[in-house]
Subunit: 677 residues, 2 copies
Amino acid sequence: MSTDPLVVFTPSGKRGRFAIGTPVLTAARQLGVDLDSVCGGRGICSRCQIAPGHGAFPKHGVTVAADALSEWNAVEERYRQKRGLKPGRRLGCQARIMGDVVIDVPPESQVHKQVVRKAASARAIELDPATRLCLVEVDEPDMHEPSGDLERLARALRAEWGIAEIRADLSLLARLQKVLRKGKFQVTVALHRGHEGDAAQVVEIWPGLHEGGIYGLAVDLGSTTIAAHLTDLVTGEVKASSGIMNPQIRFGEDLMSRVSYAMMNPGGDREMTAAVREAIDTLAGEVAAEAGIDPALIVETVFVCNPVMHHLLLGIDPVELGQAPFALATSNSLGLAAKELDLTAINPRAQVYLLPCIAGHVGADCAAVVLSEEPGKSDDLVLIVDVGTNAEILLGDRSRVLACSSPTGPAFEGAQISSGQRAAPGAIEAIRIDPRTKEPRFRVIGCDLWSDEPGFAEATAATGITGICGSGIIEAVAEMRLAGLLDESGLIGSAAATGCARMIAEGRTHAYLIHDATASGGPRITVTQGDIRAIQLAKSALYAGARLLMDARGVDRVDRVVLAGAFGAHISPLHAMVLGMIPDVPLDKVTSAGNAAGTGARIALCNLAARREIERVVRDITKVETAIEPKFQEHFVAANAIPHKTDPFPELNRIVTLPQVSFNTGAETAGRRRRRG
Amino acid sequence: MSTDPLVVFTPSGKRGRFAIGTPVLTAARQLGVDLDSVCGGRGICSRCQIAPGHGAFPKHGVTVAADALSEWNAVEERYRQKRGLKPGRRLGCQARIMGDVVIDVPPESQVHKQVVRKAASARAIELDPATRLCLVEVDEPDMHEPSGDLERLARALRAEWGIAEIRADLSLLARLQKVLRKGKFQVTVALHRGHEGDAAQVVEIWPGLHEGGIYGLAVDLGSTTIAAHLTDLVTGEVKASSGIMNPQIRFGEDLMSRVSYAMMNPGGDREMTAAVREAIDTLAGEVAAEAGIDPALIVETVFVCNPVMHHLLLGIDPVELGQAPFALATSNSLGLAAKELDLTAINPRAQVYLLPCIAGHVGADCAAVVLSEEPGKSDDLVLIVDVGTNAEILLGDRSRVLACSSPTGPAFEGAQISSGQRAAPGAIEAIRIDPRTKEPRFRVIGCDLWSDEPGFAEATAATGITGICGSGIIEAVAEMRLAGLLDESGLIGSAAATGCARMIAEGRTHAYLIHDATASGGPRITVTQGDIRAIQLAKSALYAGARLLMDARGVDRVDRVVLAGAFGAHISPLHAMVLGMIPDVPLDKVTSAGNAAGTGARIALCNLAARREIERVVRDITKVETAIEPKFQEHFVAANAIPHKTDPFPELNRIVTLPQVSFNTGAETAGRRRRRG
């Protein structure tokens, strides 16, 4: 017996000997080479395209003869004429091994394509979604072996795809017989795999080969906004993203006011549940329309959200989350059918996955940040801060990860600020104050020019200058401190004390005028003493949470800081550190992760193993409950000031020196005491 | 070390030695003694009551001292005062072993009580339903270990009851937190076990110890009637039974006319689905009201039905069942939530179980008959006939079981018979014709007297004599044959040929007058030639089906016959054999199984293992499709006659001799040919 031909696959380098006549797809499967196929080798899906090499490959020790593969066959020719096939490509299910050969699997023929996540990270997500397409030939019914159509479909999936067990709901059963007959017993099924050992769920079934693709929705359900990213589950590509306001805002701006609404109004939780489900349904329809796809092709949805949103989405009264011990109804990940959440725009059998919650205040959104940022795989000690109405804070490295949440309130989002507004065109998002002249210059959303650059007035004429958004107020407060307009305690100096004509007396306190558009009917934008106090409260809460985790870990500094959250992307690290929002680290050690929770949702959507990973990882996270730690108050009070800094880490590349000034006359302090009384 | 005390449990006889101080419940569990407990040994459910013996038990080699058990304790005293405890009874979780002892477990303390099925059978069903009650103490939430309430409930069930995994739907999750707190974290859950390896479903949860019981509904969903039996899942007792007409009758009397309705009317299947689900929901509410229980305590339902009813119940268009190859959408058993079938009267999370279907014409009702009658465990060859609009026929013994269904049509139910009617008061259900005088005497439903007995007229005055029901027409035809009024071919003789004045000429054929109430405005009840032909068709179909199974088995006689079906209970074996409905066997070898399908449903409701058994058994049944077997037609034609019999089995106790007569003049035959054209 002569030696069987040697087959080398690239780029994997996997190799083996196969009998003459073995289809390339068969060889690939036996070697575990990642070569796609939906039709199971019937020459109709073309997913298994390969590119055979020619000539000598010294690296692999193989010389490929011209007849190393079987001749171009009729199936390939028909496919080429009908759909087109790039020159040099063969169908792996048709081409048979006739001699030693090197076969390249192009990226588009790999099932587990790498879905590049983001430029900032080397990590890529391997595409291996929970739901996949399988084409099968089902045995026709036979009176002598009268098993049901579903049972014969199960048998075909077992034989052709190795699926141990399937289940189908009644709505699928009601479609099954017609579709099987329409497809002449050849059908494509969208199969959803749950936990290992669970039966795979038949989500959808199409006659013949389904070429319309399947899609998934990653939903970041925030207290304020709901964002949805529509992802092609075959290519991993994001086809469309869209967001809408969370309609629950009408029941309360922040989480605790919504919990209060539920407590005070019988049935209030059900109202909020109905509102958010309807909004998600609308959003799903919109994002599908934007991508130009049939919403019934959305077969999967992943949700990330904080615990209150989580419970309200599920129809659970969040009242227990409003009081110690903040007990979750359920903390594990959840798999549901979309219809259980009244989602009707998408496929009625679409499967929903909710990431696990970490604790009563640390939700599935934080778990998604963990999945995205992987603090447990960090060599150095990383502090991750997801800034929103609540801040989720993570601290960790390979040895251990800790998590807490801190009630920063909505000031960082521009709410409860006198000139504050949401991030929208016309909002001041960046500001600089000249330390010498105390004059401000700023940039507004929707315009790349600074306010002192030529053409700014014209460029902003349409939107006007309407207020300050979250990142703008943080910069404004930090710049005021840097310019000596604010003292360590956070008190704004008077015009006399600061020598700045923009200081306006407001009762016993002062405000800093950034922009006055009253002459043209616009607003007068100032930073008031109240604004400073609101930001101080927020930043103290954030900082105190981080300190609490550092205490628990027994450290007093961290190696790097990651700012997450849609808002985190816009915060200037310098200003955050001036304010004392985050512990001091070298500026180049502060990075933005963008919407890490949304990224985590996308990862869970695109990769089944990632779900199992985060379910395992969250169990090992040490949860710190800020509400019951006495030291939280201590840190909170201590963090209130914006002190003069004497460069505590001279070895680090600090670039900030805060002026040592004091405006305290007692007046504002008395006023504050009264207000807080 | 002295020898530990010896403990003997009766009636099981299980025995073992236990350390002094071991609670009796603990000892029972270790020995596998069937001693109930819902509260897990907390002294509150009283299910573990035991009766310790006193004195010498030579049989067990034990002498029980007065202090063999620990002293009556405060928990037992409190229970006795509050709820009462029979003299001599102790609580097994409180009484501790102090010396050698014999302990009797009274029947009401056994979990797996034997639920006696019926007098006719030695077999009893062991009570081990899929849904059971468990009382657990759940850990209170703890901020330092912030797992969800559901996860802590799961942990408690694992620790106290050995439940590996649980799942709960959103409606249960929405209740969970309130109930846990209301019960101070002590709750009773109704847990439903599915297939091995599946997570147990939390169907209901109550604060503290739930003493209201749980119930199951066994539903026999027939083409004509729907019967429901409400069973106490703790005692196995049937609390109430009720039936209603299947409202689908308005869409078609028999199965095939309903399939036609679905084929001819778009959405017709959905109309029929909605109608039957609504009827079942109504029936469930009624049967609960009859038993005086809260319908929300119905946590389980088992359905048995033929394939068309099965598909229509599930919302599947039955069109495929109306044409070869009669493909079922699904043949396996099914587990569902009640709400998926729009059942709202019972617990919304109640679990529904449908028995498997055997083939496209042999449904879950036939599987239930197999479960009830166990042909596969029979030592002799048994033929089981479930007579309805379709007849399900089973033939088998330990070596092999065969099944088919045969389209008998509704004649056996009194339909398509000139004086036919459903079995209801006033219907003739039994009839005898004097072979000498040719005079009939009969009995009607609602009266125990024969028509020639004194007082009959008075007793039936209220109902009148309104028609003939199924069993009546069978007897009438058989009696006419025995009296020589009918020849072998089924032709009715004329008055002249038979010498009977009751023969009425009707065109070219004759009819036999049973009762004439026209003088008092009542009906004239006759058996016409058309009636005879309808019965001949029905009995030929039934007989041909049985013969087909006998052919497949290679036998030409069977050892015994079981008549099943509500109607089967009323058929006279003698008359059935005269007619040739069933193969000849000794009369004492024909028994009635009553409503065997309903009994099978009750077995599946009361015993989880029975579900696994029938799922396994149906796979091994040989299915014979009457519609495609050429020999069916042959047997059918051959079975049409009611021939003169010459005692084919002289060794058997035959008691029938049919007269050898012939009335064939050609007239009726010509008429028949024309009609059938």
